[in-house]
Amino acid sequence: MSEGLLGSEWFRLILGLLIVLAFSQLNALFLVWLERKVAGHLQLRPGPMEVGPHGLLQTIADGVKLVGKELILPFKADRKLFFLAPVMVFMPVLVGFLVLPFSRGLIIRDMNVGVLLVFAFSTITVLAILTGGWASNNKYALLGAVRSVAQNVAYEIPLLLAVLSVVLVVHSLSFAKIVEYQKTVWFIFLQPLAGLIYLIAATAETNRAPFDIPEAESELVAGFHTEYSGMGFGLFFLAEYTNMFIVCAVATSLFFGGWNGLFGISLGIPGVFWFLLKTYFLIFVIMWVRWTFPRVRFDQLMNFSWKVMIPLSLANIVITAIVVKII
């Protein structure tokens, strides 16, 4: 009976869900702390220092504060959609964890369309942002929401084209197979252009600076979440960081060899550590970029996407296809 319970699909699903929920929350809290620390040290200041050792518990304190705050519904806002949006932004992010290959065998579900699933669900975030911005009945929020849609439409294309060039080589959409393929050589060495395009597009996809135009603090106050208070804002915030983790985890498995060590040398370190190490390093790079550059204007962003990234990624895919055919 117990064997039946452990082996049953339901048990695995519920266990997986619990782990994912716990991990995503802790991870987001840690990333917020990391962001503040990285920002601080890049700017010659220590970042949070007061709550806990080196401010480690700062984000928990902030979270408690957010939970305790009133959820304010703006005048004439669309009540249902207004409260639906933060939930909607967080749910698809969780789904991404289903297929992330933390290590060999440490995948909740190794689907043969794993890559597709992650990107299909991450698109829902845009819908949530649009909903939230529209329901707020605020011009700044609406501007932010509209910008977000325009931006994501433009950036989904090079993102997927970059991913496609990897898929073309491996002939599979399963994360496990893609990672296995990179046992000796990571895709970043075979497909440097696709890797770079993926990282840039992913930064835009997660609305991170220098592509944070939907939030654009100095222009649109807080963009789409201007009117959100308390945990409504908190969920947007958590989703942003969880999204960042997923995007970087996907980059790790697609381009940086997932659980594999460099050139097949794993140094006896478990795969999951390799995976997390690389993911967090990519996250660090994204933070580093955020705290270095000014924000681009949204028409320049579009220009960059349509005139540079899409042609380059298309060229890359054609060349990849030709090379794959010849070999």
Binding site: S218, E219, V221, W291, F293
Partner: protein, 373 residues
């Protein structure tokens, strides 16, 4: 233009209140924007939220008691405003200023100019979304504040100048600190160049954005770096040299197009020129008195009027005072540069994007309390 008017009539246009509470309006400015999508059709700056009646205050108190007010109009270049007021009263009453005091005032003013420009540099980058240059600039600015703190005892509203000199002499430590600061900045310019000036995103955000050409500048009375950015080398320090500026060798940086990038370049080079001025002034600093002892407690200026212009960090600033022989001015008026500079927005903003509006507003460097007074 006809096309714009057609859009204006349609109901696609909506208005957006940019301010008075907005992260990047530098004080309490409100701009009412009429938007079509994100394109600005009409921009109307609304001022007056920070009105404290400084001019009126000047009229009902002795000259001396107006001193602390002056540095509170443009709090970012308090020393310069202080300096200008003292110049005006000295001209009105006819007080001679010792040479040493003149040099000290010039050094302090130029330090203040650099600190004002550094703050502009930081906040401008913050308007564009880059947070880190802001803190680097504040690090440098903090050095200036420390230097000025060591002679004035205050970090923002200095009240340092007195009629006939300055309130406190400078010592060797001040000179040392200033020299160290100049040396430090030499390295920092290169850092700022790599971090901002050469940055492709920054260049794209500023090039051809918010062009104020000569004609527009003339119409609105735009002065200071904004005027110099469109190629007019007008600087009060050169055209009507006050204090010892005629003895110092410095260049007036100018731009060509008058866009945000030119304004950035002009201010950036101005900081370097200010460093040059300070360096020379420190070399030439003579010994002697720092405050002439012959100034009476109660000033009784002759009947008449005085107009003194000086170059503040934002442009041509002037005090105009009418004296009726009483201890205080009968009429006190201050010409501030930000007013003209800000009003040029009426013509510059239409046709640009909201994101550009922020960039333009940041690049013309207004201090709203200076306008509101």
């Amino acid at each position: 233009m006809a096309e714009l008017e057609k859009i204006e009539a349609s109901d696609r246009v909506y208005s957006l209140n940019l301010g008075p509470q907005h992260p990047s309006t530098h004080g309490v400015l409100r701009i009412v924007l009429d938007l079509d999508g994100e394109y600005i059709i009409k921009a109307d700056p609304v001022i007056g939220y920070g009105h404290r009646g400084h001019e009126k205050m000047g009229e009902n108190r002795p000259y001396k008691q107006f001193l602390p007010n002056t540095s509170r109009m443009d709090y970012l270049s308090g020393m310069l405003f202080n300096h200008g007021f003292v110049l005006a009263v000295e001209k009105l009453v006819g007080i001679k200023v010792p040479e040493r005091a003149k040099y000290i005032r010039v050094i302090a003013s130029e330090l203040n100019r650099i600190s004002s420009h550094l703050l502009w540099f930081g906040t401008y980058l913050m308007d564009l979304g880059g947070f880190t240059p802001f803190l680097y600039a504040f690090d440098d600015r903090e050095q200036i504040l420390d230097i000025l703190d060591s002679i004035t005892g205050s970090r923002l509203t200095y009240s340092y100048c007195r009629f006939g000199g300055v309130s406190r002499d400078v010592d060797l430590k001040f000179i040392e600190m200033t020299r160290a600061f100049l040396k430090r900045m030499e390295k920092r310019w290169a850092d700022y160049d790599s971090l901002v000036t050469k940055n492709v995103i920054f260049i794209h955000r500023t090039r051809d954005v918010g062009v104020i050409d000569r004609e527009l500048a003339r119409q609105y009375g735009v002065t200071g770096p904004n005027l110099r950015a469109c190629g007019v080398a007008f600087d009060v320090r050169r055209s009507e040299p006050y204090e010892v500026y005629d003895r110092l060798d410095f260049e007036i940086p100018t731009g060509t197009k008058g866009d945000a990038l030119d304004r950035y370049d002009v201010r950036f080079k101005e900081m370097q020129q200010s460093c040059r001025i300070i360096d020379q002034a420190l070399d030439q600093l003579p010994e002697g008195e720092f405050l002439t002892p012959k100034v009476p407690q109660k000033l009784g200026p002759p009947k008449g009027e005085v107009y003194t212009a000086f170059e503040s960090a934002r442009g041509l600033t002037a005090y105009y005072m009418v004296s009726d022989g009483s201890p205080g001015p009968y009429r006190c008026h201050i010409r501030v540069p930000s007013f003209g500079n800000l009003n040029a927005l009426n013509d510059v903003l239409p046709g640009t994007l909201v994101a550009d509006a922020i960039s333009i507003l940041g690049s013309i460097d207004v201090v709203i309390p200076e306008i509101d007074r």
